[in-house]
Symmetry: D2
Subunit: 457 residues, 4 copies
């Protein structure tokens, strides 16, 4: 570990936390202990490490083991006191504005999440209740801008891709930005950063101020994928499922770049939803793309979809190899269809109310060894249900790879077992092996990748 | 009544109601019937009559007896359909922007009020809970602007003053505006309009855009005192007490112009609070002012305070006769003290958290004949408690004069009886008689004023 | 004269004079003496009297005979030192922002005018050169906003109209403002103020910030017609003819309210231009309007046009009596035609390049007794040439009534003689007599109006 | 040469050319031929190649030999028609906004330059006249923003530095940007781009919109150093000397990174001015900096200054090795002194009027073989005069290396001879040799560098 530099500081909020009621401040202060505190401290640390290239939650947590964040109440509102905070988050003793913003975004989301649950407003038992909850969280984060035309492009893909792929994501972002589109990602490094960086330059070229670089994350992943410094709106959703729902409700189109298990998880989630009968007529542009060197990867993913979900699934996306401008042009065309559809159906531009998300996709999946072992993976299921279960399988693998809790679980109990129909297990095994071979599942930490799962057909 | 012109129209929201969740829209639609509907319809009608000079709720309600407002749900959000609406609210078929804004302010406040009460967040049983509730309502209306220096001046006084007094309020508003101060009033005609009008011209002269003309009202009074067209922020608090608390928490200083019973009520409310021992050190500039012709009135009010609440009460305000520039200068000085105090005590500029308001001032007073008859009005009470009861007495008189329900009650049961210590009842009786003689309690409707009370010492 | 209050102050520029070269500052300082100084001092005094109701240049000049304005150079730029300035222009020792702006507008226009003439750029010998000059002056004043749709409505009419007529102009301005149109006037009181005042309130109602209240004046008239306080852009053109050209090049439509000789002058100027064969196809909405009581006046003006310029002239305007909303609707319709025409012909929205203005209308007319006596007023002339001469006749009468120099001339040499064809002289005489009878030529000073002309047929 | 893609297009102006008089448009159209056209075409081509990495004017000119730009007049204003323009400047057929802006900046500056010279306003015979001219050009380009605190940092250095040095300039720019400072460079690649790129990211982190990336160039250099795409304000000064004067009048401090002959020229120019006795008390922060690997280079430059201009010269700058944050901190401190000085002396923040620039530095130096041979380079001269001549020597070398005309001259007549005092010529020769050894004078074209000069002592 390099010599770390730390600083103590006191910061006041910017944004929606500037006007709190006394009771709200009390609630926040009370959150200075207990499980919410642990969560908030961890997110705060990740944010203060913005720009640092560490993607293992434990590494950061260990490096700043004596970091503390205290929530103080004063009549005026809330104030944060930081002890032993990473010095890189400050310039001449003053916290960098974006870091301060993100820090209070974290406080806002983590506490608001709790508050909303406490109130009777939110009904997490029903599908619509969950959607309403996601809506409330996004609105409270001031993410929903009424009347703005559809132009939020979600970019999914790996956080530790190679240089060529990274440069390619920048180029695609640049082409999107030249067409004045906004970018939404999972807010870490790699594919989560490249398109934002390219779009930033392109927006500047088009003299477009107010470009949006929206980062959606969740507490379990933020430490491993600290928000990159270009993110200018950060929302921390309470869990993976809410985060995925936020992506598809707030994004108007999705581009999928090369990635590992996490990307496959997102892709399967998306296919599962788009294949739902209720969504048949709903336009939702999806593009898989990468540089020439990534063509085999994309073809393999495409083949995996064919083998497991069938041809019908392939109609929901197109693949474009090594052509950033064409990606941007196709997305622009797709967004026009989205706009017209929403207008005709009188749906909001800022939230995709009409998209049907089956409850199965909304419920958190707890990747215990038992749950992983019990996943139904066979062709007896309807394609969108199979997609849901495949998604869960990948979700577990991601947890075992990069999430604090998942890593500890694997350390204790050994790899997960995944069972299923050989016609599905074989392509799955191949895909996962290819990920390993292509170093898509190696952790930057250094050591060779040890799989956290066993495929049993 | 002149020939009325009506129009049917459909309008979409502007402001915070642009982003509603599906459940919130359902709640709004559901509000299309029942008591909330009656309330909303009445407020909507008052707003659509903005600028009309009618100050009797019944007159408007009768004139547009067939007016209807329907709340429609669509995926996109909420939409209002208006039937037989006053045509003056439209230009070439399109609703005037400020009217649209106010209409949705009413929808927002009336429904939000209900929602908040339903949630478990609000504890109306405790004093702090009520204050928090007022805070939430104001914040939801986007009235609280963090970081802005104290410059919101509340102007209280009559809604049907004479021309000379009206011109004087314009001049005072002009002098306040030249010093870049904002105006907050009860949002109707008379004193509620004059200072805003003067400030508008002065703000334009000072090339200051973003001047605020904040109107605080409540459902029982809005029909009688329709928002004047200069108001650019409208908040409808749920009752008189919340509205009064909003005035003193959001305003940084208060100017009291000549008025009738309503003004006296506000003045006594203010004195009762400022005389509370906990507020001893809290700076709060209060100025009584009027043109030369109003000097006897102001002197009488001053004498009434001396006779009932004593010399200590007089320290909380100053009287300035016929000198608009001096009023503005003194207010500017006072605001500097407020700013310094808040800074030292670390209190917010946008909400006066440190001001102690006794629960007695926060509880709604229901002016039944019985409650009016039971009011304790004697020197055995602490001055701030006596002030509270005197305030209630005036509150009842206002209800009997201009409020829909109060008028009906007086029609049924005859005038209220008010009992008390002669040393208090005599000055009270004199003051009220003077109000009648000075036509401060005559209703513009036309007929001579018939008192809605009897003072019994 | 009431007790005047004066103040000494030093002010720095706002706007285009903030960045001057050293040479430009030297030129300005040098302007601290000589004829430019006299001109600037006079304009400055008028501006500092903004809002005062005096319409005789001499009155103001006499009241502040010891007023001085000194132009100081400093490395940073220019600074004005004011001695014995009217105290009303200041609030607590600081100059009101709009007054400061106008003061530097005057400095800018008066000095820029000189500079431009000195440079070789401007060719005042040719018609196009004069138009270019007007364009440069307006552009330098930042009056030309590219790309903004046609919505600048010029309002002409008397500066000392009666209360009913004044209220009517406010109502028309209000209806124009509700339709989001901007107002341009001669920037003094009466018709020059009413429409701006009405539009200000209407713009606020429509939540439209950035409404423009453009005042075009000239040095000879500014002292008599001090800019009203609503004007938020002030341009001082060098003489009557440049000012008139500025009106018709920058305005997209014109409304003519009742007025006296000055209004007649403007109306004839406009007709003379619109009747020019080259302008046959050019749309230019012109509306004559007034309250019911002004109907006879408007009819008489209409009859005068028929008698002197013929039926063809009447096609260029419409008359609307007592219907502010209809005036605004017709103007809105007319502006649509203007927009379409400019688009088709590829003309700028911000300057009416395609309007042909004959050189005769561009050359200053010096109203000496000799020039007035020599005016050709007979039907041998083409209608647009006759219009030009009638315009000159009225111009002389205005000078004799309200302009410093004109008044002195009449004091010395007695009234002007105006000669011409009886078929023209008789209607002219009738019109002028009617103006006198209707008190449209009486000066507010007090004494009865003594005509400054004799009509000789 | 790679396959070039071309496009034909027609574009309308944005910015100050939107409002032109008819005469001005005629002048522009007339510029469609002759020497101004050649100049404009060349600049336009460079701008359309923004982002391309070619630094030899001839290469671009040859690649697009059939490129044409035509200036069309229409009533509305001016329009440019482009034939065979580089396709990279367009997105889906529409020109990128920044390119369009820069294109019209070029038209504005090249034509305005001519116009100003034609007018009598500009007196290029006097030193103050030249300064006024530079001021007018900058003001016309809307570069001068009154009232903004000193924060424009000029970065000088090579356009073809190595990767390590380039990354270092980005880091310094990042640290400057974190401290909310603006960047001004010569607007090409290398040192002209790195600091802007770093500052862009830092400004985004600090949520600072409106960061300025000012590029100052001149017609002879723009083709070789096409504006990088981050530049958001472009000004084309008429020649090297005006450009250098613009740098030191508009910049508040200067950072010098490693570079070649051009950088040495700029450094000597700066020293010559700062050593002038009149500028003794004038604060002007100058920092030489580079990564560790550039330390020898910086030391050699420092030694050259000592050997030729003496110790006194060294007091005007500090050297900081490999410490971007320290560079930014020192610059921030320096700017505070500048601000205080300007305030005390009442000088503008936006233009350094008080800086004395000797006429010798203002006059263009024509690098003919004769002029180069005649340069006085000996210790008999005052230090600031010697600096002036050394500057001219480097200026000639730059011309011979990268400028169209200079290259052709060297092709015709062989290398320049430079004569002088051995005590000066020896360090000069060493410095130039070191530049060659360090590849600071190699052209990216490819071939080994052939010196365009001979040092003769």
């Amino acid at each position: 570990m390099p010599q770390r530099q730390v600083i103590n500081a006191s910061v006041s909020p910017k944004g929606s936390l500037e006007t709190l009621s006394q009771r709200e401040v009390q609630q926040l202060s009370a959150a200075g202990s207990g499980s919410i505190y642990t969560l908030f401290r961890q997110c705060a640390l990740a944010i203060l490490n913005t720009g640092a290239h560490v993607d293992n939650a434990k590494t950061i947590l260990d490096a700043y083991h004596d970091f503390e964040v205290r929530i103080h109440q004063q009549d005026r509102g809330v104030r944060l006191e930081l002890l032993n905070a990473p010095a890189d988050a400050f310039v001449d003793g003053e916290m960098i504005a974006s870091t301060r913003e993100m820090l209070f975004s974290a406080l806002r989301d983590i506490v608001y999440t709790e508050n909303e649950l406490d109130s009777q407003r939110i009904d997490l038992e029903s599908s619509q209740g969950i959607t309403d909850y996601v809506f409330h969280l996004l609105r409270n984060a001031r993410t929903l801008r009424p009347g703005v035309e559809p132009k939020m492009v979600v970019c999914w893909g790996g956080h530790s891709i190679n240089t060529e792929e990274y440069k390619y994501t920048k180029k695609v972002g640049h082409e999107l930005g030249l067409r004045k589109l906004d970018i939404c990602t999972g807010c870490g490094p790699g594919v989560m950063k490249g398109p934002m960086k390219g779009a930033t330059i392109a927006h500047a070229k088009q003299r477009m101020s107010g470009g949006r670089y929206l980062g959606l994350t969740e507490p379990g992943i933020i430490a491993a994928e600290a928000p990159n410094p270009i993110v200018n709106e950060l929302v921390i959703l309470p869990d993976i499922e809410k985060r995925l729902e936020a992506f598809v409700r707030v994004g108007h189109g999705i581009i999928i770049f090369p990635g590992g298990a996490g990307t496959a998880e997102e892709f399967l989630y998306l296919l599962g939803i788009l294949m739902h009968p209720d969504n048949r007529e709903l336009p939702f542009p999806v593009i898989l793309t990468g540089p020439k060197s990534a063509a085999p990867y994309l073809e393999q993913l495409n083949a995996f979809v064919l083998a497991t979900l069938g041809e019908a699934a392939q109609k929901h996306y197109q693949i474009i190899i090594d052509n950033p401008a064409e990606v941007a042009r196709q997305m622009t065309e797709g967004l026009k269809t989205v706009k017209q559809f929403r207008r005709e159906r009188n749906d909001a531009f800022h939230f995709n109310w009409l998209l049907k998300i089956d409850e199965g996709f909304q419920r958190p999946f707890d990747p215990t060894h038992e749950n992983m072992a019990n996943l139904q993976l066979n062709h007896a299921l309807a394609p969108h249900e199979l997609a849901a279960n495949l998604r869960r399988a990948f979700s577990g693998i991601v947890a075992g790879n990069v999430k604090d809790q998942g890593i500890r679980l694997i350390e204790q109990k050994g790899p997960y077992s995944i069972h299923g129909d050989p016609a599905i297990m074989q392509p799955l095994d191949q895909l996962l092996k290819a990920f390993v071979e292509q170093h898509r599942m190696k952790l930057p930490g250094g050591a060779a990748y040890v799989p956290c799962y066993r495929v049993v057909s």
